[in-house]
């Protein structure tokens, strides 16, 4: 597959001096040996004695520098190698080749030492003591990380001012909702003032209001404490709210590393047109809409052969067209649709981050 790689040299703008990166990654790769599994019961039994391994390259030759105080969105479809990279940065995995430095240290050689200066949150896994109130876990962390009394007290007061955590932290972790627990886990990760915090899908499974609260919290902590944040997520709302810079990897390869604005300019020629063909709330059933979308796509494809990246989808009661104006002009498309069916209502939108990322994942760029 020919994927266009969009790299740009990222230099912090404004200040002429280049900051010393807090995380330096040079050409790292990670290979796993996996057993070639056979099918069925017989195959499974054969597998017990099999030495038929294949090498899986989970991460392939990734290079990046991360500056202190950055929030980097680390994106990629499921199984792209995101978690593997994070595990290498935390020192749990040793890269097969390449070099990583976090705070000037090689993580896998000094895992315990490295752990002093990093914080981690893995969505849906908790480091809090299950049967105790969260505040007890905080106290234990205070002693484990040797946080002095003043820093500890200040941080707790600060957290309380941000999210009102003092009431929540006296609740037993087992009785907390997922959102409350994630909130406490994030606070726990920031408690010892780490220089880097890794957040692996922190908003997974949370409701809209809790997501908002957690985004606000991460943003504030990053700003106030100048903590570097590496965030992996599948929620583009997180990316829009938090990240200036995003790194996208797919099948272990880095396919994008630049600012989010740059991504939008790259897709600047894209427009979203939302169309409605019937005013009545249930004018068309879902199946009816799907049918229209399929027909419409055929019509447009035959009319505009050049428009290869055109997509037609259904979103609630809207039919959504995504077009690239370099290929076909918006007015031409609207005219064509108008001839096909009477348009009742119409909205024009710029491409959302979500659609951009989706296009990149699906390899439709370039």
């Amino acid at each position: 597959m020919d994927t266009c790689i969009i790299f740009a040299s990222i230099q912090p703008k404004g200040n002429g001096e280049k900051l010393k990166p807090i995380i330096q990654i040079e050409n790292i790769s990670k290979e796993f040996k996996v057993l070639n599994r056979r099918e069925g019961l017989k195959g499974t039994i054969c597998d017990l004695f099999s030495k038929d391994y294949r090498v899986l390259r989970a991460v392939n030759n990734i290079t990046m520098d991360i500056q202190p105080g950055e929030i980097v969105g680390y994106l990629g479809p499921n199984g792209a190698g995101k978690s593997t990279t994070i595990k290498m940065m935390t020192g749990v995995l040793e890269p097969t080749s390449g070099k990583i430095l976090v705070n000037g240290r090689i993580p896998y050689k000094n895992r315990t030492k490295n752990a002093e200066n990093i914080g981690v949150v893995f969505g849906q896994r908790t480091q809090l003591w299950w049967a105790l109130p969260a505040i007890e876990s905080f106290r234990i962390l205070k002693d484990i990380y040797c946080i002095d009394d003043i820093t500890y007290k200040n941080n707790l007061e600060y957290f309380d001012a941000l999210v009102g955590s003092s009431e929540l932290s006296h609740k037993t972790v087992r009785q907390m909702s997922l959102g409350q627990r994630t909130l406490c886990d994030i606070l726990a990760a920031f408690l010892h003032n780490p220089s880097v915090v890794f957040l692996d899908e922190p908003t997974i499974g949370l409701d809209v209001s809790m997501k908002g609260k957690i985004r606000e919290l991460i943003k504030t902590l990053n700003k106030e404490k100048n903590t570097t944040v590496i965030l992996t997520t599948h929620d583009m709302g997180d990316v829009d709210a938090l990240c200036k810079r995003i790194v996208i990897i797919d099948k272990g390869n880095m396919i994008y590393d630049n600012t989010i604005e740059n991504l939008r300019t790259y897709f600047g020629a894209y427009r979203t047109i939302k169309l409605m063909f019937s005013k009545e709330a249930n004018g068309y059933s879902k199946d009816g809409l799907d049918q229209i979308a399929t027909d419409l796509k055929d019509v447009l494809r035959t009319n505009f052969i050049k428009a290869v990246s055109l997509t037609v989808t259904v979103e609630d009661e809207w039919i959504v067209l995504l077009i690239n104006e370099d290929e076909v002009s918006m007015m031409q498309v609207i005219n064509c649709v108008q001839e096909y069916k009477k348009i009742i209502d119409m909205k024009l939108e710029e491409i959302s981050t979500e659609s951009v990322i989706k296009k990149i994942y699906e390899g439709e760029i370039g």
Partner: protein, 272 residues
């Protein structure tokens, strides 16, 4: 950035957390004590029958009450030392949660030991002590209470370290197998038998006893119970027994640490 110094506070913090967590599951301790009591009744009748069919009053040099005390306290020690570490490690490795423990600024093995230590304290007070008193009154004071108690406590502590290292060793195997249930069952059978927890070592045939004496398992149950119940021991014997136990502890610590260190390289932490 907080510089981390060596501080005993962090170990105590973990022990304290474990104690508090242990206290929140208080019902399970009452059930354990009841279970021990039922076990006491079962083996009372079982061994009564064995002694009744024997021509002499002692079997393998042990009287009926000696055997009874030995076995019930062995069961109580089993409850005390069973930390579910293997089970937990297996589960954490499977779910990938182990990464959170690996990323603590402490040595993983030490961290896990102290995380478990609160549970030891709690089950000592909540199940071992009551069971001990139960046995003491049940056998009408057949246990000598004297200086042997002090050596017994020290011996339990060393036994706990040996047991922990064996658990850690077996738990580490989960890194390779990704499943631990069967291995855990096997380990339990082997340890309980060879340590003299199911049948006192005094009853073993001569050859087997010689073999077992060169294995670490007897240091877990046999040594502390021997120290507690054998009233013929003198100071020199106590030191000899504790010394041997300590040697096993050191060997097992070294052994499990080497295995863990070696195995870390194969960690692939699941999930994602």
């Amino acid at each position: 950035m907080s510089k981390i110094k060596f501080s005993s506070k962090r170990y105590w913090a973990l022990t304290r957390g474990g104690i508090m967590e242990g206290l929140s599951f208080r019902t399970s301790y009452f059930i354990t004590i009841i279970g021990n009591f039922l076990y006491l009744i079962v083996i009372y009748f079982l061994w009564k029958a064995i002694y009744a069919s024997s021509p002499s009053k002692t079997v393998g040099g042990m009287t009926f009450y000696d055997t009874l005390i030995y076995l019930v306290l062995a069961a109580a020690l089993f409850n005390l030392m069973n930390s579910f570490l293997i089970f937990e490690m297996g589960r954490d490795i499977q779910s990938g949660k182990i990464i959170l423990n690996l990323l603590k600024p402490m040595d993983f093995q030490v961290y896990m030991f102290f995380q478990k230590s609160g549970g030891f304290v709690i089950s000592f007070l909540m199940t071992f002590l009551p069971t001990f008193l139960l046995v003491y009154f049940f056998t009408k004071g057949s246990i000598d209470l004297g200086v042997n108690l002090l050596y017994f406590i020290i011996s339990i502590f060393i036994a706990m370290v040996i047991n922990y290292c064996i658990d850690l060793f077996v738990g580490t195997i989960a890194l390779y197998t990704h499943s631990i249930w069967g291995i855990n069952i096997m380990k339990e059978v082997v340890v309980l038998l060879l340590s003299g927890a199911t049948v006192p070592l005094a009853f073993f045939p001569e050859t087997l006893r010689t073999v077992v004496n060169y294995l670490p398992f007897q240091a877990i149950y046999n040594t502390p119970l021997h120290i507690l119940t054998d009233s013929t021991l003198v100071t020199k014997n106590y030191f000899w027994l504790l010394g041997l136990q300590l040697m096993w502890a050191i060997i097992m610590i070294a052994f499990s640490r080497c295995f863990w260190k070696f195995s870390q390289k194969v960690i692939t932490v699941n999930g994602g």
